[in-house]
Symmetry: C2
């Protein structure tokens, strides 16, 4: 009853070559890589050169190949490959979150029109089967929130920071270890986490969000004073991709968060990824696995290939029409803003101030801000201040106004 | 495309009544409980008495009902209900691990003959979707090991013990909190963990093991001296349901284990459950969720019901013929044996001794034993000694003999 899979592979880096080994040198699956297309003909590789081609059409126009596995870095080239493969009636397995997040609706539609599967478990959370669980196990409206550490690079750097190592030094170490790219922008400014959040929101809540409409603020500006604040309060700093239902709306963001010792994420360090899912009835479930690296990615790709043997498809059961469940930035959250400059802190409109600290070189303020106002600041490019979300539940405008009027704290009028 | 589900519910305890609330008082699923059968007509309940019946045939012989959810304690009565329901062509959702483990082959066959689904996610790991993940995501032979804390009661007691509270006191506290039964045997002697391991082994490796053939040794005999030993070495004690591939065989057991700080399970305390899955390529993945209690169970039952809307069935893709992958007790493992009596320790045949400690009131010995010999001792009824597995990989007979001959430790000849 299993489908025989003839795979065309794009890319032969660590993931691709490991995958080749498992598929072609073991009996694990009835699936073989029959053609590999790579970019650079001159590179020395672990298997004989006659396995390789440099012309994509040798896979894309080959009728014997029914599965395309795309593992290349260049997301524009990957987009063309994936599109063409789906159009030509081939199943596609991809790990390229940027490509998928930016073209999600189009690619889902193409797969559906051509009656093929488009699977991308490896694009989010490394070896953690989070897309599959959201799709299959949490396949109804019971899900209330999802919160993930889905970028191994930044989690590694933050773990170093929490241990007292300065950001630049930690970044250098991550680069030496191969966890971070020479240009780390996609990781450290939260873009990678955002692309993954787009996929999580799609499978958790059925909403398709354009990455451009989703706020991403990374860890570049976190300073020793912010880490010291965390230490004093018993917190650690984690970069979360987070989305949840707030009454009848969905909210979501990528931003650094303080987490206390009783939070699941507190112990998730170094290159590990973790996702916490909360649903009606079930309290919280935590999934942990290795995020960065070739093995976790290869393992997720392998599981997708394995699922193709049984005709597995994402069904997007939760997909919403525009008028059903809406995404909003209109909510309140409690944050910490740290800076050497009081003026920088004062630029951020607070609706309630809980704590103020001022000294010659370091100031901070905690309290409640409106997300739609804060998200307008280009915070990745404001090195003089750091914003970190405090461990308080988000509040809808209505909830916040109700609490605010009872408050004995500073209340700021605008 | 979704099936309309008319549910007959057996049992109306905390799980059943919570389930009723979610299904009948919300629009979450297109599923309604149309009949509830309970045992005790005199009990006061949260909904009007005309919802209840005391005659099982009102569900089992009712053609309008297509799903039976069985949530009663009595596993013999539950067995009759489940069997009859499957025979009458109804899908069944059950949380009763004892019943399922003891009659697994028969019930799977009945479900298949009658073309209905038999789902039991709630029977293992509370709210953790572990059966579903083993079935769907790890749906090939890549899985190498599974290790779980799947009994919330014993994990709660062990957490207390690790904090210095004596076993009897910890048990009393667990009973007061409703985590442990008046007769705690099923939990503390590892039977509950064993029934769950039977299900894990079935879905992980495709083997059906009679619970009688699976070793279960619980936590009843763990003494303050054993806990002190753990503390000195930086370990905590956890009760594991554990199975893994050892070359071409499968091994499995329920026994207390020492875990070191870098082990995933070290931080899994109180009533939490956790399962670590290891597969080719993917390193380890950890699933954590609440184990004991009504909400986790109800959430898993809800997910099974939700899956029935889409005709979900376990496919048992990995199910083995007798001659393919065999279960064995022939392997070696490293253990600690503690006792007040040296004679008791000397009864256990060691093949290699690593450490010996002797004093007036407490003695221990660590080293390698053959599992098939140790499993013959009825350890739950040997209060004078405690056996705890040390953190070393299991070794096949061949591997052990190779290492043993090179060893500079005490080698014991038998």
């Amino acid at each position: 009853m299993r489908n025989k899979l003839n795979i065309g592979l794009f890319g032969f880096g660590v993931v691709g070559s490991g995958l080749y080994e498992v598929l072609n040198q073991s009996q694990l699956l009835d699936a073989r890589i029959t053609k590999i297309v790579v970019k650079d003909p001159s590179k020395k590789r672990s298997i004989p050169s006659d396995n390789f081609s440099f012309d994509g059409t040798e896979i894309l126009d080959n009728n014997e190949i029914n599965v395309v596995v795309e593992l290349i870095n260049d997301s524009s080239a990957a987009y063309e490959i994936v599109k063409k493969a789906l159009q030509n009636g081939k199943h596609v397995v991809s790990a390229n979150k940027k490509l998928i997040a930016e073209h999600l609706s189009e690619l889902i539609e193409l797969a559906s029109e051509n009656s093929v599967s488009f699977l991308y478990e490896a694009a989010v959370g490394g070896s953690i089967p989070i897309i599959r669980n959201l799709e299959e196990y949490y396949n109804n409206d019971s899900l209330s929130s999802i919160q993930g550490i889905v970028n191994g690079t930044t989690n590694y750097i933050l773990t170093q920071s929490n241990d007292g190592i300065a950001y630049n030094e930690a970044l250098k170490k991550a680069q030496e270890l191969g966890f971070a790219e020479a240009d780390p922008t996609l990781d450290v400014d939260g873009f990678d986490s955002k692309f993954k959040l787009v996929l999580l929101i799609k499978h958790a809540f059925g909403l398709t969000i354009d990455p451009k409409d989703l706020f991403n603020y990374g860890i570049r500006n976190i300073k020793p004073n912010d880490v010291a604040f965390a230490g004093e309060k018993g917190y650690r700093i984690k970069l979360f991709s987070r989305a949840e239902k707030l009454n009848d709306k969905v909210v979501g963001l990528v931003a650094p968060h303080f987490v206390s010792q009783d939070h699941f994420a507190y112990q998730v360090n170094n290159e590990f990824n973790a996702v916490v899912v909360e649903a009606v009835f079930s309290d919280k479930q935590l999934f942990i696995g290795k995020g960065a690296g070739s093995y976790p990615t290869a393992s997720a790709v392998l599981s997708d290939i394995s699922a193709l043997q049984f005709d597995y498809k994402y069904e997007y059961k939760k997909t919403r029409k525009e008028d059903q469940l809406k995404f909003t930035e209109d909510f309140f959250l409690k944050v910490y803003i740290g800076s050497s400059f009081i003026e920088a802190i004062n630029e951020i409109p607070f609706y309630r101030i809980d704590e103020v600290y001022q000294s010659e070189n370091y100031n901070y303020q905690t309290g409640w801000v409106k997300f739609s106002e804060v998200s307008k600041f280009n915070l990745n490019h404001r090195p003089e201040l750091s914003l970190i979300v405090l461990p308080e539940p988000f509040k809808s405008v209505k909830e916040f106004n109700a609490v605010r009027s009872e408050s004995r704290h500073f209340v700021v009028e605008y």
